[in-house]
């Protein structure tokens, strides 16, 4: 490992009632790199990301940011560190417009009054910086946007804040070919500008197209986190479906225990 991780979690456990969703998960994110997080449906990808984002409190485990241990209990803590997440269920307010959504919870103010002019200007600049051309007006209600446009707004919202870590949970799942290409380009550009980017995706072509590292979750355990250039397509698929591939991944014993715990 050359670089030190910007954000790292170690030994994360998370249960919802009796269901343990994450078991001893280690996960590291590096600046300037795209880390793909893969795994089958229900493997716990979204849950891991929500733990990192402070949406779900973790049961146990360590959370390190820039090498120092931190505690993250709320979305505010996470955004305070510069961690921004684009959730799978986008979490936009349909009844608000693009600017209002992008600044939600962090409105610019002049004393008591909202500084609409500055917010609109910054929102417009951010969208322009991301080369977004499909949005007609930043004062459009989000309800009137297409799926791809909503995704764009959610990503723009995440990069608006000089964020250091941007996590995208299946950003291309609902998109057409052209829009997927645009979003992937955006993801790559974020990493090239120094962000630490996490991309969750089920599409292996997308994963191999943009990512530097790949982390595979298998039934709530981190099967492996490897450099994209060191593995093949087939190995990743095996990690996703069986938790191991050759000498990569969980040891057979652990994989069996994991399996047994689930069934």
């Amino acid at each position: 490992m050359t670089a030190t991780p910007l954000l790292e979690v170690r030994g994360i456990n998370k249960s919802f009632g009796p269901v343990q969703v994450l078991r001893d998960v280690d996960f590291a994110i590096y600046p300037g790199e795209v880390t793909a997080l893969v795994g089958d449906n229900g493997a716990g990808k979204s849950t891991l990301v929500k733990c990192i984002g402070g949406i779900h409190p973790i049961d146990s485990g360590e959370y390190h940011f820039e090498g120092t241990p931190v505690s993250v209990h709320s979305p505010r803590d996470a955004s305070g560190l510069g961690v921004e997440i684009v959730y799978q269920d986008l979490a936009l307010c349909d009844n608000l417009d693009i600017v209002q959504n992008m600044f939600l919870g962090r409105e610019r103010r002049n004393g008591l009054v909202l500084d609409e002019v500055t917010m609109e200007q910054l929102a417009t600049e951010t969208l322009a910086g991301l080369s977004v051309r499909t949005v007609k007006s930043v004062r459009q209600l989000v309800a009137s946007l297409s799926g791809g446009q909503r995704q764009t707004v959610a990503i723009a919202k995440a990069v608006l804040w000089n964020s250091k870590v941007v996590i995208l949970d299946e950003p291309t799942a609902a998109l057409g070919v052209a829009q997927t290409a645009q979003v992937l380009e955006l993801v790559r550009r974020l990493a090239d500008t120094g962000h630490a980017v996490v991309l969750i995706s089920h599409n292996m072509n997308d994963v191999f197209a943009v990512s530097d590292r790949i982390a595979a979750l298998y039934l709530g355990r981190m099967a492996a986190q490897v450099k994209a250039s060191d593995v093949t397509y087939a190995q990743i698929v095996e990690l996703i479906t069986a938790g191991r591939s050759g000498d990569l991944g969980l040891t057979p014993a652990v994989a069996d225990i994991t399996n047994g715990a689930q069934s």
């Binding site: 307010c93 349909d94 962090r106 409105e107 002019v117 609109e120 051309r133 009137s144 290409a181 992937l184």
Partner: protein
């Protein structure tokens, strides 16, 4: 690693559609067609009903009746303004009517039975409202009981509390001159009325022009001057006509006792409406209310303290109900077990909905309560003048409410189809 690169793209153009008056008008028509009708039904309803009642009973347009309209509708309008905040979260407050009765009773007991000064009594009534709202809010947000159930219980309990406060049905007279002035005989002197009107219109124009200049200075699309002029002109004409009529002599015996001027309660409600509108549309708190009403989970993830917002809207709702109670006590010169009872709550909810506020949350303005409250007052007043029985009156009011809700539902369906809302 292959990434598709696209050529340089033009930046987002902010609000290019709003460049000129015709474009602005086209935009508005398109929005209405698309189902974003706003307060249009309430405005059209007001015009139709006023013309109808005016033709059937010319006395409807007399100066004295016009003044009555305002004093009659004041309590319902005040409660409706508070309900807007509750409805914006998709919650409901069924207890607002009797909460306003309880607060009125607190006022009456203090000012009449305990001989306290008026300001102590009014303050106690408002604090009672705030406490009631806090209680409801805590039960809804922290305990997790649906607001419908909590406030239904409140509806019954406050009815009981009101009976206890007025000692099982005796009515408590409220004769304090200051409290009576609020919605009984308090008038703004005609000259002061005109001055306030000018201040309001100039202030409104000033705010709009300043916003326009600030946007233009930063290179953002600004509204055309003609649109602003139209809006300011409309306010000046409508408010000016109202002040003119209210400044006409309404006394039958003007030499002995001249009755001219805007009722004080109009000024009070006007100031409150402007303040609440400011809170909703210009502060972060107001923005967060819309956010929680539109998508509670998104608001939570944005770091908004959702529980605090939910509690606060009930506090505002019940405090506005308390103001409604003070107004009712003033207008009737007394408080009895029916203050805030019978149709008050239903009219207030009806006013908000007819004005264009959605029961599903996320959509509504303080202005809706004012327009809806006016519509309710016109119906109540006009039907009274026609001399119809209570039965017919309720049937008619129910019909109007149903039509309003129907228009809302249809426009929402249309809006869903066009993706506007």
């Amino acid at each position: 690693m292959t990434v598709v690169t696209s050529a340089a793209q033009p930046p987002v153009e902010a609000g290019e559609e709003r460049a000129s008056l015709p474009a602005y008008a086209r935009n508005y028509v398109a929005r209405v067609r698309g189902g974003d009708i706003g307060a249009l039904p309430a405005v059209l309803g007001l015009i139709v009903l006023c013309v109808g009642f005016g033709i059937a009973k010319p006395v409807f347009f007399s100066a004295i009746n016009f003044a009555n309209l305002f004093t009659q509708g004041a309590q319902v309008t005040a409660i409706a303004m508070g309900l807007i905040f509750v409805l914006l979260l998709g919650e409901i407050d069924l207890s607002a009517g009797f909460a306003s009765g309880v607060c009125a009773a607190v006022l009456a007991v203090l000012v009449t039975n305990q001989h306290q000064p008026w300001y102590v009594a009014v303050l106690a009534a408002l604090v009672t409202g705030a406490v009631i709202g806090t209680l409801i809010g805590l039960l809804v947000a922290k305990v997790g009981i649906p607001s419908f159930v909590v406030t239904l219980a409140g509806f019954l309990a406050f009815q009981g509390l009101l009976l206890v406060l007025v000692k099982n049905g005796t009515n408590i007279a409220v004769t304090d001159p200051v409290i009576k002035a609020i919605d009984f005989d308090g008038l703004v002197p005609p000259v002061v009325g005109w001055v306030l009107l000018v201040v309001a219109v100039v202030g409104f124009a000033g705010v709009q022009l300043m916003r326009r200049r600030k946007r233009a200075a930063r290179g953002l699309a600004a509204e055309p001057l003609s649109v602003i002029a139209l809006r300011v002109g409309a306010l000046a004409v409508i408010a000016g006509a109202a002040v003119y009529v209210l400044n006409l002599e309404r006394s039958r015996n003007a030499i002995v006792n001249s009755v001219r001027g805007v009722p004080l309660v109009v000024l009070i409600l006007g100031v409150i409406a402007v303040a609440l509108t400011f809170v909703l549309s210009r502060t972060a708190y107001g923005r967060h209310i819309y956010a929680v009403g539109g998508n509670r989970e998104a608001a939570r993830r944005a770091g908004i303290n959702v529980d605090r917002i939910r509690i606060s809207v009930f506090v505002i709702g019940s405090t506005m109900a308390a103001i409604g109670g003070v107004i009712a006590a003033s207008r009737a010169n007394s408080v009895d077990p029916n203050t805030g009872g019978s149709t008050v709550l239903l009219y207030a909810v009806g006013a908000a909905v007819i004005g264009g506020t959605s029961l599903f949350g996320g959509k509504g303005r303080v202005l809706d309560a004012v327009l809806g409250g006016a519509l309710m007052a016109v119906i109540e007043n006009g039907m009274g003048l026609m001399g119809v029985s209570s039965g017919i009156k309720y049937l008619f009011t129910g019909g109007v409410l149903l039509i309003a809700a129907g228009v809302d539902a249809l426009s929402r369906r249309r809006a869903a189809a066009t993706g506007l809302r």
